[in-house]
Amino acid sequence: MTDTNTTIMDKATERMVHATPMSLARRVRGLSDRAIAWLFIAPTILLLLAINIFPLIWAVRLSFTNYRANRPNAVVEGVGLTNYQRVLNDPDIWIAMQTTAHFVFWTIILQTLIGFSLAYLIDRKFKGHAFWTTVILIPMMLSPAVVGNFWRFLYQPQIGLFNYIVSYATGVPPSSFEMLGAVSLAPWSIIIVDTWMWTPYVMLICLAGLRSIPDYIYEAAEVDRASAWRQFWSITIPMALPFIMLAVLFRGIENFKMFDMVMLLTGGGPGSTTEVASITLKREAFESWRTGRASSFAIILFVAVFGLANIYVKALNKVKQR
């Protein structure tokens, strides 16, 4: 099979060489492999510079100015570190950061626990497990805009299904509590929706981790008469841990910059109860139009996420090396 593939590839390469115009072939012939490699990746690098690096540098520059995007005629002045000082001393921003941390913490905990449990069950390969895997994955395939809107209806205190189910289970009148309107419930209403939507994603990664554990390790443990509990703690968890950590990393980064779901469900309310950092940033940049200050906040968030992710990746590598 491999020989056949090699032959086909060789023939294709030969055909391409013959098809290359002589002038280009002559020009390319004078270049080193390294130069040709650079030639191929140059468009990607240029694109990356244009749409990622340049805006980042521009944002850093703006963060030291009083620039406002809605005042094109105003004089832009350097303000030194004032924007950073103001952001770091703004109690509202710290509250938004705490809200974000609360949200990230609970969604990760719930999604990891439920996601891993589901993966563990699906991995048993019972009859119809493929069908149930697909069913479980459905929420993840939906658009956040759709999810946000239909959960708004589900949470509606007068006609919402969620309130009726809670009412049926507990006997509390359905319109006596407001999932999106009550200060104590609103953060949890978002956590529930995010967990419902993204647990399948965590499950998928955990399932890949579980499927990567060779059967012979379990067979050896059986021979050593290790109990199922012991196998779970000594084989399954350590060997699936890099995958679980990867899922936590992905969800952590995603939820740190969560915007759409919160905006659709509560808009940051009631009051500022569910105003996560990304919503504060959006308001600062595109409603208050304090572009310089918003840039400094964005840079602080970027450094925080980048730093945390780096520490986490190092920890992940250590776990993998064990």
């Binding site: 995007a69 809605n70 509606q156 007068q158 309310g269 009631p270 009051g271």
Partner: protein, 441 residues
Amino acid sequence: MRKLTKALLGATTALTISTAMPAVSQAAELTLCWAAWDPANALVELSKDFTAQTGTEMKFEFVPWPNFADRILNELNSGGKLCDLLIGDSQWLGGSAENGYYVKLNDFFDKEGIKMSDFAEAAVNAYATWPKGTPNYWALPAMGDANAWFYRKDWFAKPELQAEFKKQTGRDLAIPTTWPELIETAKFFNGKEIDGKKVYGAAIFTERASEGITMGVTQALYANGFKYEKTAGKYDMDGAVNSPDAVKGLEEYKELYKCCTPPGYTDAYMGETLDAFKSGQAAMAMNWFAFFPGLYKDENVGGDKIGFFVNPKGTTAASTLGGQGISVVANTDNMDGALAYIKWFAQPDVQKKWWSLGGYAVHNAVLNDPSFKDSQPFAADFLVAMNQVQDFWQEPSYAILLQAMQKRMHDYVVADQGTAQEALDGLVKDWAEIFGDEGKL
């Protein structure tokens, strides 16, 4: 050779025609931007006359209210060419004038004989001038509006409810004329079963994202004597914004919200308030006059079942200003066409038709017509409201000022954080910081 010449001539002609065509069609076309709501449909109807008279095709870009400011201000800030004409909020005047987004219309008005004295004074000040109250015109008053109330006239007329109300309060069940009466009436209706359905006292504005809760709260604040500054133009807000009267107004609004709004009304603005009323859930509701023609025509709750009233008094009579002026966007490629539209729109006959179609004209030819008060069931209230309107800051930094108020009010009224005094003290602090950044304090 001749063939070649002919071919070249043909090609050149074709090229000329093809490049000229878009310019011609562009010159005969205008795009008017506004919010997507009932009066916008009336304007489409009205503008057909302009097209018939001038041959200029009218295109419309109507943006839903919650996104209106974001969408249009982004358009202006980015130097976009979407809008030739813009019916923008009164609060945008300061920024749009100072940033050069709108065309100053003084010379044009003088040349065409358009007099601002032909329009209601309050409307001119609010919708056309910057700095406010000075004769510098950046818009033509297009749509007068104010926040007002409507109620279930049929419920108020029920003898058993009237008797019960009289017994409870010692007064007749009638349109509330003060804020305490408004709250009392809302409490009376709240939780009652009417026509087999549980109903609620009042549907009011609580929206957080754009301007909703500010537009609602200011009804109670203005009525209780709230002022933005102690001395106009001095930005001395401490003692005005957080005065005892203002605190009382804010507490009354929260009391109304807590006692009497339907469940789930934590983020409600125009649409939600209309829904609550149309679905027969609310005995009273607040909204802009702009929606009243549509409400009156509603098959289920309109006609004899609906009544209207201006904002009840507190220590003073006041209403929150809505409405907009029509401006020419400086970036337009069709300046002549845009100015022609303004000239056409300012004519008394056009203004009369505008009112008849459901637009709120503020031309004196309309308002001073003896038949005006009886022309619609809410026309008399509109006149009263327009004579007592107060507006939010029209400063260039209005967006930040508004966001600060949205946050403080929602935190206090809906999220139960702190006291009214703390909310208003916090607002003074926020606004002082903003004006400090502007170099005005």
